[in-house]
Symmetry: C2
């Protein structure tokens, strides 16, 4: 690719972004679109429909940019919780790192690269005619001493990133403790989930739980709720009824009164069903509540029974975060399903690209002509052939990649996690590795994902293979950042899919106040940000030209995510920044990959001394990582005795504590088994809003 080619691509994508921005600026102001662009404000009653039409509504304005920029971190924390703050800090962290990297890259490395002539001399007269490669390390002469500059850059960036990572980990860890200390009474702080409860014949789960905890935690045990599982029959009947009800709803558009009568009727039916199944479908798991946070923590951290596979204890999720459908009762069942999911996830990651490549192969013109001879006339038309060969394969790949996060979430939810937050965190992990494997390695080594395994089995050849292939893909990845980063992130702002759904549903649902406040899809968006980070680290010293485009992406992301967090998304759960360790680990992986490639590059460029000097880098980086794991990770899994006791003592005599504890038992009930109460007020959510009820 030459410079002018790059400039064209950048111009097209920049134009697209601008269009999206302008469209958003206008469309967001139309009251009919409030449900799409500000559902959270609407839900909280903070968005008022304008009383009369103003011309201003049709003009693009930038006021929302100021609104998105203004709130401080504390405001965001109060409004959207610690998870949102941590998410924004990931972007800020990337901005910091790549500003420094960009400075080094553009003012030091690019001049050094251009001064070489391994590939060709720079053509200063007609700058846009130069190949992009002369800005990359490929243009530095073999054995040249200027490679030492690159080595120093790698060292420098490693040190800076490690310092920033350490600072960030420390800050988020302290924020996590502060957040816990300043939190209100929360049911999950006092409750644990006990699973695999041994039930001798002739006894019930409840009896056993009661006996065990009265005997072993007499001072702190408060109450328990046994978990119930809907029988399969019940689940099926229920699902069928739900679908039927939804269709009826849409077709008949009943008045509110009719609707409520229908619901009441079904509700009676359901309750009879539930009571019938009640005794039969007890699961060997229970939510056990304690009088103090410290009491609950002790029960979590200590081995309870003499058989370590029984009386398993873990922190209960927030009530609204519980993933009810999955309560596999036995230890073995949970373990086996976990293994099956891990294997199928690995297989999916490895084999995913094969069907994609086959479908892409079908878009090969010659083959199509063979399969569908009747289409020959159409296929020979120039525009059709251009669309089919140039655009379709990429579209297929992109659409296939869009399917991945939901699939990974589905797999994670079959893995036996008991909370939505854990499912999403695990899906996040899976998507990261999927992207690194199928987008980075498959593209860089230009191999099908399956044959990659064999490449990776020959461990010692990897650095040199990467060193040959990575720089050559620089222009591909620049295009990738511009298209997938800039354009797709601005289309996020535009909320294309919800908007289309909204427009399509308009003719059918005229008067409905129905809308959902979505929860933030961390498991989709964090992997994207981390993948761009990976690109930044690996290309920083190979082809620094990518960095400015990445900086563009991160700045865009900063504004847009601050805006879809403030107006659109409501926090569905609060994990207290538990995403950060994933981010930390991925950054360390990116750093080590960068150092590996550096090792390969210096070998290839015949500077053996520099090769030797890169060896300590990954070792020191991994040691740093190990230190961070010891220093900070425990804070993200449990709170300390010191903190728990302090919080307990503070709350001991606070008003409301007694009532709170009295109501704890009622909080952890499967919403499917609780008598359904649809709120008649305007701001009713679709599920019983237990959490807020208890907090207040």
């Amino acid at each position: 690719m030459i410079v002018s080619g790059l400039l064209t691509s950048v111009a097209i994508n920049f134009a697209l972004c601008t269009i999206f921005f302008i469209l958003y600026s206008v469309l967001r102001k139309q009251p009919g679109n409030y449900k799409v662009y500000a559902p959270r404000l609407l839900f909280e009653g903070r968005a008022h429909r304008p009383s009369r039409f103003k011309l201003d509504r049709l003009l693009p304005t930038a006021g929302w940019l100021k609104n998105a920029w203004q709130p401080s971190e504390d405001d965001l924390l109060a409004y959207s919780g610690l998870d949102a703050v941590v998410f924004m800090r990931i972007i800020i962290f990337s901005l910091k790192v790549f500003t420094i990297a960009g400075f080094i890259g553009i003012f030091i490395l690019i001049p050094v690269n251009c001064s070489g002539n391994q590939l060709q001399n720079i053509d200063l007269e007609n700058i846009t005619n130069n190949s992009l490669e002369i800005f990359s390390i490929s243009n530095v002469n073999n054995g040249s001493n200027s490679l030492w500059v690159h080595l120093s850059a790698v060292y420098l960036i490693t040190i800076i990133v490690c310092y920033l990572l350490y600072k960030e980990y420390k800050y988020i860890a302290s924020k996590r403790i502060d957040y816990f200390c300043s939190s209100e009474f929360q049911p999950n702080q006092f409750t644990i989930l006990v699973s695999n409860i041994p039930v001798p014949k002739g006894t019930t789960v409840g009896q056993n739980v009661e006996n065990f905890f009265t005997a072993n935690h007499p001072a702190t045990y408060l109450s328990h709720v046994v978990v119930h599982r809907k029988s399969k029959m019940w689940t099926l009947t229920n699902a069928a009824k739900n679908i039927y009800r939804t269709i009826i709803n849409f077709i008949k558009m009943p008045t509110e009164q009719q609707y409520m009568r229908l619901v009441d009727h079904q509700h009676d039916d359901l309750e009879v069903n539930v009571r019938k199944d009640h005794s039969r479908e007890e699961v060997r798991a229970a939510f056990v509540s304690f009088k103090s946070r410290y009491g609950a923590a002790i029960a979590i951290n200590m081995l309870q029974g003499n058989n370590p596979t029984q009386w398993l204890t873990e922190q209960a999720p927030e009530p609204q975060d519980v993933y009810w459908p999955f309560f596999s009762s036995t230890f073995m069942g949970r373990w086996i399903s976990k293994l099956v999911v891990i294997v199928s996830c690995a297989l999916l990651t490895i084999l995913f690209l094969i069907p994609v490549f086959i479908v892409q192969g079908l878009t090969n013109l010659a083959q199509l002509e063979i399969y569908f001879p009747s289409l020959e006339g159409i296929l020979t038309m120039s525009i059709v052939s251009q669309v089919i060969t140039g655009y379709l394969p990429n579209l297929i790949l992109q659409v296939s990649l869009k399917i991945v996060p939901p699939i990974m979430k589905l797999l994670s939810s079959a893995q036996g996690y008991i909370s939505i937050s854990e499912i999403e965190r695990s899906a996040c992990h899976k998507v990261i590795w999927f992207t690194v494997w199928n987008v980075f390695f498959a593209n860089v080594l230009s191999a099908q994902a399956f044959s990659l395994i064999f490449i990776f089995l020959e461990f010692k050849d990897i650095p040199s293979k990467l060193a040959v292939s990575v720089p050559a893909q620089a222009s591909f990845f620049i295009a990738y950042v511009v298209t997938l980063g800039w354009t797709s992130t601005s289309s996020e702002l535009f909320r294309v899919v919800p908007f289309i759904g909204h427009i399509l549903s308009k003719p059918f649902v005229k008067n409905s106040d129905d809308f959902t406040v979505p929860s933030f899809p961390y498991h989709q968006d964090i992997p994207k940000i981390l993948f761009f980070g990976l690109l930044g680290f690996t290309y920083f010293f190979l082809a620094p030209l990518i960095i400015p485009f990445l900086l563009g992406y991160f700045s865009l992301a900063y504004i847009i995510y601050r805006n879809q967090l403030l107006n659109v998304y409501a926090p569905k759960y609060e994990s207290g920044g538990k995403f950060w360790p994933i981010v930390h680990d991925s950054t360390i992986f990116s750093l080590v990959l960068m150092q590996f490639i550096a090792f390969g590059i210096f070998t290839l460029k015949k500077l053996p001394k520099a090769t030797t000097y890169t060896v300590p880098l990954p070792i020191l980086t991994l040691l740093f990582n190990e230190y961070c794991r010891k220093r900070f990770l425990p804070i993200f899994t449990a709170y300390s005795t010191e903190t728990l006791l302090k919080k307990d003592r503070e709350d001991q005599n606070r008003p409301g504590m007694r009532q709170f504890l009295a109501r704890l038992g009622a909080v952890y009930q499967d919403p499917a088994l609780v008598p359904v109460t649809y709120s008649r007020s305007q701001d009713g959510l679709h599920e019983p809003f237990i959490h807020t009820a208890v907090r207040s």
Copy 2:
């Protein structure tokens, strides 16, 4: 090697064993040797010197065999603790496994191997003239269907071993809990070691510990002892004094009175020194005692401070098990020394054979003649050249291997463990991997240890490489088992080194009652047993001829170890069978290695279907291992709430509990800092016997 060669070697070693047995049967009865052969009985006053000479004393008798055989497992448990029982069960486990394996091998596999003619037909006329190889799998024809017998044997033995491992793990785990439940009050059950205590300026360690535990464990905290470190100066002075004292002892042979006066004098000196150093050398660690076992367990299992690298807690070792010399004060210090030890241990393992090979190379006659031309006359003598070329290289290797366990123990003790038992367990681990790497792999792949790394980097070629080389080494390893197993184990019985020391010291020390009761060297002997187990598993289906020799070794080991545990060794500490998980893991490793080699063999023998059928084996074995880790391993790291509370409640009102708790604080004092009291009674040990004092 042909059969007659093997028979000769067996005969020689068998004769040696018999001589050792007869020698032992006579020598053990001489009162002068009681210190060597029954120091424990002597120490406990259970060995009486015979009143007058009997002829019987000079005749070899087998009464001791009966004595060694008789005690039941419960007797052994009462007499030598759970560690000794677990050790004996390792041998019994091996006996069980290899009896079954031997049955399958001799009655099924050897006939199948002999019926093949890939190498040659069996010569029934002159059985001793056959090569050993026709009894091995090498003689089975390529692609022959009889290889399915071997595959079934591999499956069968895997299933049997897994079943036995599971049963054993379960049994030992339950024994461990029983042992804890039936134990007397033990200081370590009520005490934890707290390290890396933060000490703000102007405060002392003691103040901080007192404040922290009174605040956070008000109901259960009892007392604490801050750990002190001897200053370097003091250590040096002390070491010098010790050496001086020992020399004086040996030369002057003072009477008891003289000796005690000397000691008293030095004691005063020491105390002055210690008091001087006392305030200066406080370490940021303390032994903290609790009123109940459960209270101590909570403090161990919970994160104490908000900084996970401070207030680190772990179970205190038994007082006599504490390894005082090492108390690195900072978290980082301990961590770095651990890393350094791991690296140096890996380097030692990898590079160890290089100097050995060089020294062995020096015994090459031609080279010797070049270096020392004056020796040419001697070197050409037939007997000298035979000794130098045939015997010396092996001797050098064996002696070098003898050095390894002490080195590994030294390394482990620098790793930051705070108890002797942990040091020995860690050394045990190290010696196992050292032996597997440097004896098994280095011999099998006939490569120097260093080049092994490169072989192992090409992962996918390993099974076929092993399949080619392992069967060829069968006769070498049979000789190894016979020499190192039979002969060296019987020479253990004979206690050659202590005996020689005893004989040599006789002319100098005429009247001294000085003797030591040694503690059992688990870290030397468990690796040996496990290595022979590894040989058994890998050769079981390759060359079953090795199994009877192994069975011989394990039977010998059973008698001998039961005998030097009952008469010689006193338990120095009790880890409650914590060695078993190491044994379990190594057995699983051996099984998987066997399956890997089977994979390679079936590929080599051109039976691709059988190759495919071996693939599930390692996967299932590793899953079984993972299950065992989840099901049993937690029992070996901590006791359950259920057990702890039961034990606490039982003891609550027992007589002596109050006095026991009152004396707890005095128990954990560095013996080097406690006023030295040499017991004047005959059975005095060399260190203050705090442990027994507290227990009684």
